[in-house]
């Protein structure tokens, strides 16, 4: 029970610090779950993101469900997910009730323009540490470049990239195993 409460509060804090979608959650997750608590490894986080991208639902929510389930089973998954959406519920309800035109206040616009700059830097940092674990040889570098560049310039569903990358991973590893036997 105590750990469930902790899980809820932890993910509420993570949700409250996620400015701008699932990728913005990555630096906070790395800090809290990888560095501080050692609950997951950098690799597992990358795996959860990949699955979160190609399954229904919002990546931030999917990642929270994954980590909660890993810690405390089904109930943990539910609690972590409720935690991650809790700040949104509170904040948006307040805005809907009292703050007509909230996003038009100059102070809000300036503050969040500043925060967005910080999110860029934090995400860049998070990508660098993820990269070190994920891009480990030439084939993975090629997958990274193809998917990254493709996502910027082409309008293809993330599902396709994930399926293709998974299949590519299997083929590459099979070829490697085969090459290894011959040599």
């Amino acid at each position: 029970m105590k750990e469930l409460g902790y899980l809820f509060l932890l993910f509420a804090r993570i949700g409250g610090l996620t400015f701008g979608g699932g990728y913005a959650m990555l630096p906070i997750l790395q800090r809290e779950l990888v560095e501080r608590l050692n609950w997951v490894t950098e690799e597992e986080l990358a795996d959860y993101y990949a699955i979160g991208q190609c399954t229904p639902g919002i990546i931030a929510v999917n990642t929270a469900t994954f980590i909660g389930t890993k810690r405390k089973g089904v109930i943990g998954g539910i609690v972590a997910t409720l935690g991650v959406v809790f700040p949104s519920l509170v904040i948006i309800s307040i805005i809907a009730a009292f703050l007509e035109g909230f996003a038009d206040y100059p102070i809000v616009i300036h503050a969040f323009a500043g925060i967005r700059v910080c999110v860029c830097v934090l995400v860049l940092n998070a990508i660098i540490s993820l990269w070190k674990k994920a891009v480990i040889d030439l084939p993975t570098l090629i997958i990274f470049l193809v998917v990254g560049i493709g996502s910027v310039f082409l309008n293809i569903s993330a599902v396709l990239y994930v399926v293709a990358a998974g299949v590519a991973g299997i083929i590459i590893q099979l070829l490697k195993a085969k090459g290894g036997k011959k040599a």
Binding site: G15, G16, L17, F19, G21, G22, Y23, D47, I51, G52, Q53, T55, P56, G57, I58, V61, N62, T65, G77, T81, S88, L89, I92, S93, A97, A103, I107, H110, A111, F112, A113, G114, I115, V117, C118, V119, L122, V123, L124, N125, W131, A134, V135, T140, L141, I143, V147, G148, S151, V152, S157, A158, V159, Y161, V162, A165, G166, G169, I170, Q173
Partner: protein
């Protein structure tokens, strides 16, 4: 019963919107036309609010629509009930699907094909996050819209770029000077908000 309908509509959005908050947009747009719970302008406002609050866009939208729609019923706390129900509807499919996937992965995690698939998935995942990061960089550090009017030099948002470089150096080198200086990201987020307000970032 409006609350059941709220749950059902957002459940559908959660079930079919694959790949993050912006993927919910087309579904919300359809919902607006079908139910009249919100206008297209409300959705555009919500995108702005979601850029100006923590939390994923899809969740924020569900909460907002649930709150306003539930409020119209006249039931005491109908607005909060609506917000909770719509949000639960949105996240219910994720919870069910991810728990199932997790259980399946537990069984097959040592399978060599699953391992090989993840070997390919990790760089793809990193690539997709990098691509999402690039779009924030585009909005935050550059004025690409000014390319024509001001020439090439006009596209750089210099104050933002300088702030980004300073933040990067602080995050990178402060922990090397002293381990105690390895600040939580929230410190840098707050600092940036203050700088944004003082220097009137747009």
């Amino acid at each position: 019963m409006i609350f059941l309908q709220l749950f059902y509509e957002f459940f559908k959005t959660g079930l079919f919107a694959i790949g993050g908050g912006l993927a919910t947009l087309p579904f919300l747009s359809q919902m607006a036309e079908k139910t009249g719970w919100m206008t297209q302008a409300d959705i555009a406002n919500m995108v702005a609010i979601s850029e100006s609050t923590p939390g994923p866009l899809g969740v924020n939208m569900a909460t907002y629509v649930g709150y306003t729609t539930g409020g119209l019923t006249g039931i005491p706390f109908g607005n909060i009930l609506g917000a909770v129900i719509a949000t639960l509807g949105l996240i219910a499919p994720s919870i069910i699907i991810i728990i199932i996937i997790f259980k399946i992965l537990q069984i097959f995690k040592d399978n060599k094909y699953v391992k090989a698939a993840f070997y390919g998935l990790r760089p793809a995942s990193t690539g997709m996050i990098a691509a999402a990061g690039i779009s924030v960089v585009e909005i935050s550090l550059f004025h690409l819209g000014l390319l024509d009017s001001n020439g090439f030099a006009g596209i750089f948002n210099w104050p933002a770029i300088i702030l980004a470089v300073v933040l990067y150096l602080l995050i990178k080198f402060l922990p090397k000077i002293n381990k105690k200086l390895n600040f939580h990201p929230v410190v840098y987020l707050a600092l940036s908000a203050v700088v944004g307000i003082i220097l009137q970032f747009e």
